[in-house]
Each structure stands twice: as C-alpha cells, then as structure tokens.
C-alpha cells in the first residue's frame, strides 16, 4: 500500500511544499516504511517466537527484568517482550490489509450503486449506514467478534474474526464517503452530458462516475489503517483479540500488562504501547500530509489565483 501511495504522490509539489507539511509527510512515510519492514522481516528480527516460553537454556521465567538475554524483559506468562512486540507488527499489518480489503470493496460498490441510482434502496442503505456510523465502532467490532467466533478466539479464526470485526465498522464509512462523492459527481455537467447522449447507466457509472469518485480513497485508507490498528488493539485490550499462542497482538499484551503497571513493572506495557503509537502516528501523518497536498483550501503556497491564459479555470 505504501508503494501505491508513493507513486500517487505529487512529487514536484513535495519538493517545494511548506516545511511543516513536508516534514510531516516524510516522518509519516519513514514510520510507515519501518512498520511494514518490521512486519515483513519480523521472523528474522525477533530473537524468539511469539509463543515461545523456553529455549535451550530452559524456561524464560515470568516478569524478568530487561537483561542481555531478554532486552525488554519477559511477561507474566513468560514470553519475551521484544519478540512479541516485533511479531505484533506482523499481526497488525495483516489485520489492516484484510480489514481494508473486506471493507473497501463492498463499501465502494454499495456507495456507487446507492448514490447513482438513488430511490428506495438508497434511502434504506443510508438509514442503515447512518445508524451504524453512529454506533461506537469498538462495540460493533465486539458484537461482530462474538458473532464470528462466539467470543472464543480460536487458533484458526482469530485473525479472520478480528479482521471481519474491524471491517464491518468500516463498510459504512466507505459507503458514506463514496456515496457522497458519487452524488457530487453525478450532478456534474459531464455526467449530464453523458445522459443527454443516451449513455446507459452502467456505462455512466463505470466510465464517468466511479473513477471520479474514488480519488479521495487513498487518504481514507491511511485514516482507516490507523483506526484498524486502534480498533484491533481495543478488542485485544478487552479480551476479544487473538490468543497469545496463535499470534502476538499488542492490545492483548497491554491487557496483560495492566496488573503489572500497578506493581511498577513498566517493561511489559511500554513496548507494545509504543508499537501502536508509532504505527498509528506513521499512517496518520501520512494521511495528514496527503490531505494537505490534496486540499487546495488548506494549502498556503499554491492557493494563489494564478491567472489562466484564456479565461478558463482549469477543471482539474
């Protein structure tokens, strides 16, 4: 995804952009790249497996202080904190990708059809989406995870259930965004022009409306990637995440660390927490930077009314 974003970046603007915006965008890119690298290279980077309790020298032991063999100590259950934190990136990336895939496609298709055709179907879907949108995403995700896995995170279904739960709360968001764009584009004269010609609705939707409606989606990807991580972490924190022996998950580890904190043990809470913070920070900064670049109203350097040569403003 990061690669796609890089290609979409308007690079000439990047060079001359305002310092703050450029710094934010670059920080976002670097953090996101680090996150993806950690996730991909996790097995090579992590000293131990995510569910490993012992090595050749025997059990790791519970709540061990940071030391040479365990740079960030061990958890109450006896896992290596550093290893679980690194493996956690992998889980987060998988969930983000799965959740986005599961929500973007249905959200976009529903938004396009509903927005373009209008009528009763549209009103029904809007009512549903509005109600769902007004519902705490975390609670929706909890309900979904109960539905999918009966509340018990099985070894196989844990990841899938988490991804679906996160995805469900995103579908109405994509639906709303795409639908709003479709309705805006639909009233543009070029769509009227196609209708006057006699172009069929399917051709109008695919050729004229769809491609002009999804331009803002890359920005929403970054925002939703952040939300996916936060929702997953929230689920894990409430005990609806993924069992420790099926994958490493930051929210679950933080849940286990609540009691540790009360007894002054910091090393089990801070690493997974920082994992979440840095990842969300990266994707959010990336999104903010992209928004700044895309929104002429919020840009300073380029909002000058450049006089066009011959009367016409540019339609882009």
């Amino acid at each position: 995804m990061a690669l796609v974003l890089v290609r979409r970046l308007p690079l000439p603007r990047l060079r001359t952009g305002v310092g703050v915006q450029r710094a934010m965008l670059l920080t976002g890119l670097v953090l996101t790249a680090l996150f993806v690298l950690t996730a991909v290279l996790g097995p090579a980077l992590a000293p131990h497996g995510y569910a490993q309790l012992r090595d050749t020298e025997g059990l790791f032991g519970s709540q061990q202080h940071p030391s040479g063999s365990h740079p960030l100590g061990t958890t109450i259950a006896g896992y290596d904190v550093l290893s679980r934190t690194i493996w956690g990136a992998r889980t987060a990336l998988l969930i983000i990708l799965a959740a986005l895939l599961l929500s973007v496609v249905p959200g976009t298709v529903l938004g396009l059809v509903s927005g373009y055709l209008g009528g009763r179907l549209d009103r029904l879907l809007v009512g549903l989406a509005d109600a769902l949108y007004a519902f705490p995403p975390l609670l929706l995700a909890i309900v979904m995870s109960i539905v999918i896995s009966g509340g018990q995170s099985s070894l196989v279904g844990g990841l899938g259930a988490a991804a679906c739960s996160v995805a469900v709360s995103f579908v109405p968001q994509y639906f709303r965004v795409v639908r709003a764009e479709v309705i805006r584009v639909k009233s543009e004269p070029f769509v009227d022009a196609a209708r006057v010609i006699g172009t069929g609705p399917w051709r109008i939707m695919t050729r004229h409306v769809l491609r002009n409606s999804v331009r803002t989606l890359p920005l929403i990807f970054t925002i939703n990637a952040s939300e996916a991580i936060l929702t997953l972490a929230g689920l894990g924190f409430l005990g609806f995440g993924i069992e420790p022996n099926s994958a490493a998950e930051w929210g679950y580890d933080l849940n286990r660390a609540v009691a540790d904190v009360t007894s002054g043990i910091w090393w089990t809470a801070i690493p997974p927490g920082l994992g979440i913070v840095l990842t969300v920070l990266g994707t959010t900064l990336l999104g903010e930077g992209l928004t700044d670049l895309a929104d002429p109203r919020l840009r300073r350097r380029t909002d000058a009314p450049v006089p066009p040569a011959d009367g016409g403003g540019d339609g882009d």
């Binding site: 000439p12 603007r13 001359t16 543009e188 004269p189 070029f190 009227d192 022009a193 196609a194 209708r195 006057v196 010609i197 006699g198 172009t199 069929g200 051709r203 050729r207 004229h208 491609r211 002009n212 300073r300 350097r301 380029t302 909002d303 000058a304 009314p305 450049v306 006089p307 066009p308 040569a309 011959d310 009367g311 016409g312 403003g313 540019d314 339609g315 882009d316």
Partner: protein
C-alpha cells in the same frame, strides 16, 4: 482638490509551485474625488488584483512593488498602503477606501445580523458612540441605500435578504464609514439585469449624493458606459489605454481596445442578417403544451414550480432564444427537453412523438451544450474520447478506427487544431472547451441543439468567436436550436424568435426584432430598459427616459 488614489508602477506577483507568476506588471492609475474610473479587462488581466492592492487585501503569497497612495482629497495622497504599518492600514481601510465585492452573499457573514456587521466597521474606527447610537446610525444608512423598512431589516440575517438588498447592505457598510472612495469589484456581475440596474443607480447616487469616487472593476462594457467617467483598459497585467469614457467608445486608440469593443454584442443595433431558414410549415421539432415542471421539496416541505404551463414550438432549422432572469425556468425547459429533468405535467412532444421513458431513440437526435465548459467534460478522458462518446454509444458498429476519424473531423469542424485531440480538458482554454462541447453535441448530426448559456462563462472576445462558430455550423448543418440565455444582447444576435420567461410563465413571445425592439409586455420592457448598452451616449439618453426610449428597431 487632488487625487484620492494614486497607483504608481504597481507590480504584483504570486508565489506558485513553479516559481513566481506575475499578475500585475507596472500599472499606474489615479482616481480624483467624485470620479468613477472603470478598470476593464478580461479574466486574468490583473484588474481584481490591482483593486485588492488598494486596500492591502492581497493574499500572503503575493509580493507587491511600487506605490499605492491613498489620500483624503485635501492634499496629495501620501500614505502608501504597501508599506503602511498594520495599525495604520486598519485605520485607512474603510475610511479612505472601502470595498464592494462581487458576490454579496459571500461578502456577508451568514451567522450575524446585517446591523451587527454594519456596526462592526463603525466600532473598529471608534465611530458612533454607544451601542444604541451605532444601531441608529446603521438603520439610517440602510435607509439611505434604499433598503425598505430598515428598522426591521437591521436585525435580519443575510439569507433573509434578496441579492439586491444584500449588495445594498454591503454598499451601506462601505458608505457608513464616510469613505471617499469605493472600490467595487464586479459589483453587479452576480446579479440579474433588473437588479443590476438598481445597483448601478445606487452607485450613481453614491457619487451625486455623497460625493464618493468609485474605482469600478468590471468586464461588462454596458456597465462601463452607464457609470464611468474615465476608463482604463487592462490586458495581461498592464494598462493598454486610459481615456474619458466617450472618447474611448468613440475612438479607441489601442488595437486591443478596438478588438474588445468590436466583440461586445451591441444591443439594439439589430440581429444578424440571415436568410429565414426556419421551416414553419413542417412538423415542429419540439412542441410543448401546458408544460409544468416541479422540483420536489425536502422533508415534506413545499416543492418549487419552475415551469408553470408553458406552450411553445420549435420549428426545423429555427433558432429560438429563451431569455429570462434567474428562477425564470429557462434552464429547466432546456433540461426537460433533453430528458435531464422529469416533466411534471402537460405535454412535451419531440419530433412528433410524446416524450416517454424510453429516451434512447430520441437521445441521438438532441445535442446539448452546457454553460460551464470547465465541468462539462470528464476530467479523466481525453477530448477525443469525450467527443467520440456519442458515436461509441449509438454507432458502435462503425468500429474504433472510423469513430476516431469522425471525431477528428468534428474537431476540425469546430476549428480545433488536431494537436488537441489527445489533450485532457484542463489543458484547454474555456473557449476551446466550449468548441469541443459543440463538436460533441453535433457528433450525431442532431436535428435539435439545446444550448444552455453556452457563452456566459466566457470572456467577451472568446464569446464572439464561439457565437460566430455557432452561427456558421447552424448555417451549414441546418439544425434547430434552443438558445437559453440571460443576455438579451447575445440572444438578439443569434435568435430568429424569442420567448421571454418570467417566473415559469411566458411573458412575451415573437420575432426577435419585435420582442426586443418594441416590447409590449411590462416585464419585457423593464428587462430591456434595465440592460445597459455599450455606448455612453445612447446609455445616457436611455437614463433620461428609461422605458420610452427602448431600443431603436432595425
């Protein structure tokens, strides 16, 4: 007495991604007390930037050099706006010069009352004493600019006022601070022609009753002829000619001024001479009887009847002009014929058949040209792709190669160079896009063309060329056309017959020269009288006897 405003060698450029873009390059102007100086030019000429620099309202990206001197008329102007301290600049704003904006609805803060906004200016300059005194002053000024029932209106929010009243309120805010100079940036462009006439009258009074000078920024030569004492013509950031208004219109010196004046359609000098091509005897292309179009209201609120029982016919080969102000229903009629807006009642026949839901058969026989060339093309398709779209939809059997050949032929027919074939819409100028729009509309050789304000987004010189092309193609292809416009001068130039619409009903109908030359209906008369003609001598005469003089027929 000496000048109120003196601009000396003003240069303004904007910082952009691709380096500084010059907008104004060496402008020198002056405005004397009580004088109206019109600054005219087409879009991008730098006239608005020049005007905004007078009040120091340039955006942060702008860099300005030169001097913009403001004075109070008693001595040589000596305070330079460009170098004044922020506090001094605030003191100058409103008292030495005040601004009237193009769009009165955005120039007023939507969440505060008119009275509050008026007193904010007074408050900023410490005028008016107590709150109640300031309020009384506000009511007094609203009254002076002709807002009815000012004691009530003072507590109204902007959206409760009509467009003309809003512009009056903006002018009242400028006058209330006792300014000697009003900078009016296209003050009537957003308004209907009858409202425009009222605002022009008010600006006249600003000079006669209050002795205020006006720096008038406009592209409309009729407005210039009506109001200005002197004219400065701008082009590409420079003043190409300055002259008293009568001299300029009578004997323009600069070639650009001549070109500009020649392009302005001169209302009342008769339409184009062309053979009567209309085939009145044949079956009408469009026949509407008791046509009604409603727009539904939201959430059970009352809908809006845009077209209310209209009867008309368009004959083959005829050019029918449909004129009216905003809200008259003219665009709706065009959209209903093209099937873009559903008909609520009455009967609409196209090519002898009643309009049904199955539009595809009819679709290929109607072409449509939209008002805004910037948005009427899909930004992601090339010009050729867009022009070829009707052929792809209706005549797929031709094959890709033949369609491409035909599309290129169409480009040629509208005088667009072949090199533009693979460009995207934003790479074309407004005029070029409107040519392409014509090409697309004519791709299937339709029997009827609906043109909805096809030139109102264009500069006047571009408009002239597009109108010529329009006439040329109509001559050649012989299609019937419905020409929807608010501009009587343009309609007079192109239409064989005219329908005047007023609030969804037909006010008057007939041959162009008859309806516009000697109007019978009251509303048509007002409309014709309100239109300023681009000739200061004739316009001055019309002022004396607004309705009676009318227009001399051909």
């Amino acid at each position: 007495m000496t000048d109120l405003l003196r601009i000396e060698d003003l240069h303004v450029s904007f910082a952009t991604d691709t380096g500084p873009a010059p907008a104004v390059g060496g402008v020198s102007l002056s405005v004397a007390p009580g004088e109206v100086l019109a600054l005219v030019g087409e879009s991008g000429s730098g006239k608005t930037v020049t005007a905004r620099s007078v009040l120091g309202l340039l955006p942060a990206t702008a860099t300005a050099h030169g001097r913009v001197l403001l004075g109070d008329g008693t001595a040589d102007p000596e305070e330079d706006v460009l170098t004044a301290s922020p506090a001094r600049l605030r003191a100058l704003r409103g008292t030495h010069a005040a601004m009237v904006f193009q769009e009165p609805s955005t120039a007023l803060n939507p969440v505060f009352t008119i009275g509050w906004q008026l007193t904010e200016g007074l408050r900023a300059h410490g005028h008016g004493g107590s709150k109640s005194e300031r309020r009384a002053l506000a009511i007094e000024w609203l009254d002076k600019v002709g807002i009815p029932d000012p004691a009530t209106r003072v507590d109204h929010y902007p959206h409760q006022l009509s467009g003309g009243q809003k512009q009056r309120a903006v002018i009242a805010m400028a006058l209330a601070l006792g300014t000697r100079l009003i900078v009016a940036d296209e003050p009537t462009t957003a308004l209907d022609v009858t409202v425009q006439a009222e605002i022009l009258e008010l600006l006249h009074r600003c000079r006669t009753d209050f002795g205020t000078a006006v720096l008038l920024i406009t592209h409309n030569m009729g407005v210039v002829a009506d109001l200005a004492d002197r004219v400065a013509v701008m082009r590409a950031g420079q003043v190409v000619e300055q002259a008293p208004v009568r001299d300029l219109f009578a004997a323009p010196a600069a070639p650009y001024t001549r070109e500009l004046l020649a392009a302005v359609p001169d209302f009342g000098t008769g339409g184009r001479a062309r053979p009567a091509a209309a085939d009145v005897a044949g079956q009408p292309v469009v026949r509407a009887s008791q046509l009604v179009v409603d727009y539904p209201g939201r959430l059970g609120s009352k809908g809006f009847r845009a077209v209310d029982g209209v009867n008309f016919e368009i004959h083959p080969g005829e050019m029918l002009g449909l004129v009216g102000e905003s809200g008259s229903g003219k665009t709706t009629i065009g959209r209903a014929i093209a099937g873009l807006t559903p008909v609520t009642g009455g009967r609409l026949e196209l090519f002898g058949e009643p309009l049904t839901r199955k539009r595809k058969a009819v679709a290929g026989r109607i072409g449509y040209v939209f008002q805004d060339p910037a948005t009427s093309f899909n930004p992601l398709l090339t010009i050729t792709d867009s022009i070829a779209e009707p052929l792809v939809v209706h005549r797929r059997e031709l094959g890709a190669k033949e369609i491409r050949t035909q599309a290129e032929a169409l480009l040629e027919a509208v005088h667009l160079p072949r090199a533009y074939a693979d460009r995207y819409p934003h790479e074309l100028s407004g005029g070029q896009r409107q040519r392409a729009s014509l090409a697309r509309a004519l791709a299937l050789r339709p029997k009827l063309l609906v043109a909805d304000e096809p030139t109102s987004a264009l500069d006047v010189s571009v408009q002239a060329k597009v109108l010529d092309l329009f006439a040329e193609l109509q001559q050649e292809l012989g299609f019937a056309a419905l020409f929807v416009s608010h501009d009587l001068a343009v309609v007079e130039q192109v239409a064989d017959r005219v329908i005047v619409l007023h609030r969804g009903r037909i006010a008057e109908e007939g041959a162009t020269s008859q309806v516009l030359g000697s109007p019978q209906d009251d509303y048509t008369r007002r409309l014709v009288a309100a239109l300023p003609v681009p000739d200061p001598v004739r316009q001055a005469r019309r002022h004396h006897s607004p309705v009676a003089e009318g227009v001399t027929g051909p």
